[in-house]
Amino acid sequence: MKARPPKLLFYFYLIITFIMLIFMFEAYSTLITISEVQPLPRRNSITYFLSKYNDTVGGFKFIVETRSVRLQPTGEYVNSAVITLYWSVEAPEGQDGRNFTISVNLYDDEGRSLTSGSITVCLPKGTNSGSHTITLSNTSIDDVAKVETSISDYRHWCKIR
């Protein structure tokens, strides 16, 4: 008995099946590529502003610089900031130094203030450095996009007892 040659329709189905198989493998390989994606950023940058104050009052010069800011964490929350200052302060005789107000403000991505705090400290005359702790309300570290410090003159000489 003579074997029948395959019909044209059979070849047509064969080609269609082959094309579909290629598309299927391509689709699954796309799926594998997507599953290997790297972590995406929710926030990939944080900005700190370290302030510097420079002024002269009655011939007495003041330079106060923020040298470091440290947020104190409790778990994933911060509740205080430690500011390290460097200063060079001149004061009249009979006065021990000058009062300055040190502030820290934490902002979110939209520039909204999350928490802030300030202290007024007497910086003794001469050149020196020191750290000061500013209390803040509990704030999630993941919300913090910007940390800004500021220094202002309290406009009072001070005495250290």
Binding site: Y13, F49, S68, V69, T84
Partner: protein, 126 residues
């Protein structure tokens, strides 16, 4: 014969459709980072401290304490800007499975001018 082929092609068609629909679903949701099938981690960089060293009014080095909400290996960049000058420190392949303290000298050395210095810390997966 014809019937078998049609059924076979129909099965392949369904499988292909499923494969594509799954790929598209994961692709779309993956970009949002909320897919249940393929969760894509999103990281928050956490900068706990920034410290600069100043010598003769020049900012000579920087020290940062950094962590990430998603542990992994990151490249970290810190740009210090003051008075129109800026300098960048770079750390590559930093293992942030826990918080790390990173220090680097800065070039050029910018003057620490009034009203202060801006430090931008940026990180990306290595």
């Amino acid at each position: 014969m014809k019937k078998t082929l049609i059924i076979f092609i129909f099965i392949i068609l369904i499988t292909t459709t499923l494969a594509y629909s799954t790929a598209i679903y994961v692709g779309d949701v993956g970009q949002l980072g909320a897919s249940e099938k393929t969760p894509v981690a999103k990281y928050n960089l956490r900068v706990y401290s920034v410290s600069i060293t100043v010598e003769n009014n020049q900012i000579t080095s920087i020290t940062i304490t950094i962590a990430s909400s998603t542990p992994g290996t990151y490249n970290i960049y810190a740009t210090v800007s003051s008075g129109g000058c800026s300098a960048t420190a770079e750390w590559t392949n930093v293992d942030l499975t826990t918080w790390r303290t990173l220090s680097s000298a800065l070039t050029p050395q910018c003057s620490y001018t009034t009203a202060g210095a801006t430090v931008e810390v940026r990180g990306e997966p290595a």
